[in-house]
């Protein structure tokens, strides 16, 4: 099953709401992606570190109305939608409240802007995905040691191909800026491939228009002409994103990401899930003392 881990939510702050036409656009992106064969799609809510998150208001932390979207797209029976939070950070040490956010989103991703932030994210933070901004020249050199340690930990790196396909924004192919973006994209992807040895990469669209979506195999072919390892290319579309998603879902539905009571297949099926239950730590991850049996045992012991 192919996955797409990045479909941007049209709004990037808590104060404004998406307009109806933006929402239709989002739905069109999802359904176009679906007809291209991608069933598991993740909607990405991306904010910078300066945006204040309403930590105390549990209902407002996740602005993506996933139940509404699911109802709107009810005619696409195999479609599965998830939510993702991407924090764009300069300094990872400022992120203290990550654990509080984890229950509200299926995936947590970090976009580090500096080398220090990248290093701290890999060593200290519990995230699923690292998404580097591939459109501009990275201010640091990707070292195999750092990237390799992240991949050993199970953190994957994301390649968004929307920079490659600029779409209809007044684009004629000769505009200098567009060419620079593409050059940077190729350079950064090559760096990522080199530093990661083609392991642990995830390809996602990041498309803001239906026009920017492409057949995933074609994108793989383009990356192969760049030098992506052929035997590991397929995993970028299938196995790796699945692992990211399972990893993120386990955070919500398991004890310390190791023990889950539900059977494995249900981890990737969330259409019957109650979003309120998800944020409540007493439902999916309750301890023995909180259950009826546990209380009884406690009574007997005392």
């Amino acid at each position: 099953m192919p996955y797409d881990l990045n479909i941007p939510w049209p709004v990037d702050n808590y104060t404004s709401k998406p307009t109806p036409s933006q929402l239709t656009q989002l739905k069109n992106i999802i359904s176009t992606n679906y007809t291209l064969g991608i069933t598991h799609q993740v909607i990405n809510y991306s904010i910078t570190e300066t945006v204040k998150i309403p930590i105390n208001n549990a209902n407002e932390i996740n602005p993506i109305d996933i139940t509404w979207l699911r109802n709107e797209l009810v005619n696409f029976p195999k479609l599965r939608l998830f939510t993702r939070l991407t924090l764009i950070v300069n300094d990872s040490s400022k992120i203290q409240h990550l654990t509080k956010l984890q229950n509200h989103f299926d995936l947590i991703a970090i976009q580090p802007l500096t080398e220090k932030a990248l290093q701290l994210t890999i060593t200290n933070l519990d995230v699923d995905l690292i998404s580097l901004n591939l459109s501009s020249r990275l201010p640091f050199f990707l070292k195999h040691k750092i990237i390799g340690s992240a991949i050993d930990k199970g953190i994957k790196f994301e390649i968004c191909y929307n920079w490659l396909i600029s779409g209809a924004i007044g684009y004629d192919g000769t505009h200098a800026n567009v060419q620079l973006i593409k050059k940077n994209f190729f350079n950064n992807v090559l760096q990522l491939i080199r530093a990661s040895r083609s392991r642990g990469l995830v390809i996602s669209s990041g498309a803001t228009q239906p026009l920017q979506l492409r057949n995933s195999n074609d994108i793989l072919t383009i990356l192969k002409t760049l030098g992506l390892d052929r035997s590991r290319a397929k995993a970028c579309m299938t196995v790796n994103p699945e692992r990211v998603l399972v990893n993120g879902r386990l955070r919500i539905k398991s004890y310390k990401q190791t023990i889950s009571v539900n059977d494995n297949a249900k981890l990737l099926e969330n259409e019957h899930e109650n979003p309120n239950k998800k944020s409540d730590s007493l439902v999916y991850k309750r301890k023995l003392q909180d259950t009826d049996t546990g209380k009884l045992l406690k009574k007997v012991k005392s």
Partner: protein, 173 residues
Amino acid sequence: MVRVKQRYILFEILYPPAYDPKHSDEDFTNFSSSERNALLSLHQTSSSDINQKSITNAIRKSLQIHYGDFGGGSAGMLMTVKYFSNKTSTGIVRCGRGHFELIVGALALITRIEGYDVIIRCTHVSGTIKKCEEYSIQKSKQLMHLMSQNGSDLTSWMSDVNHMDINEDDEDS
């Protein structure tokens, strides 16, 4: 005897929904109402502006932009569009075996042909033009059959088309 080996790439042109303030946005809003609508809207017939010549030009241009003189010379000169049908928006490109990946890449990176916004996707790569034709006919038949029935499983068809594996074709040469 040794002969020159070729690759035949089967591609189709899809028309994504675009927000257009000048026209009525019926297509735009109804697009995601059902699988059927989405498929029908993407697989439109092409206007007569899009023909073999304009597609060849678009591929050459895209090759030149993305792969430069090197790609344009090594892959683009031998490439020809062998077939294109406006009714089904499907076509077949012939190119040299060593460079078919460049052509697939260039096809995927095209965003616009003759003023129309397009998504081009490659569905099959083969060593003979006949296999491309057979594959195309088979998939279209399946799709038409599924569309004529109510409540059929269109999803598996969609992911089936997507499951082309270029690597397999690469090894049997």
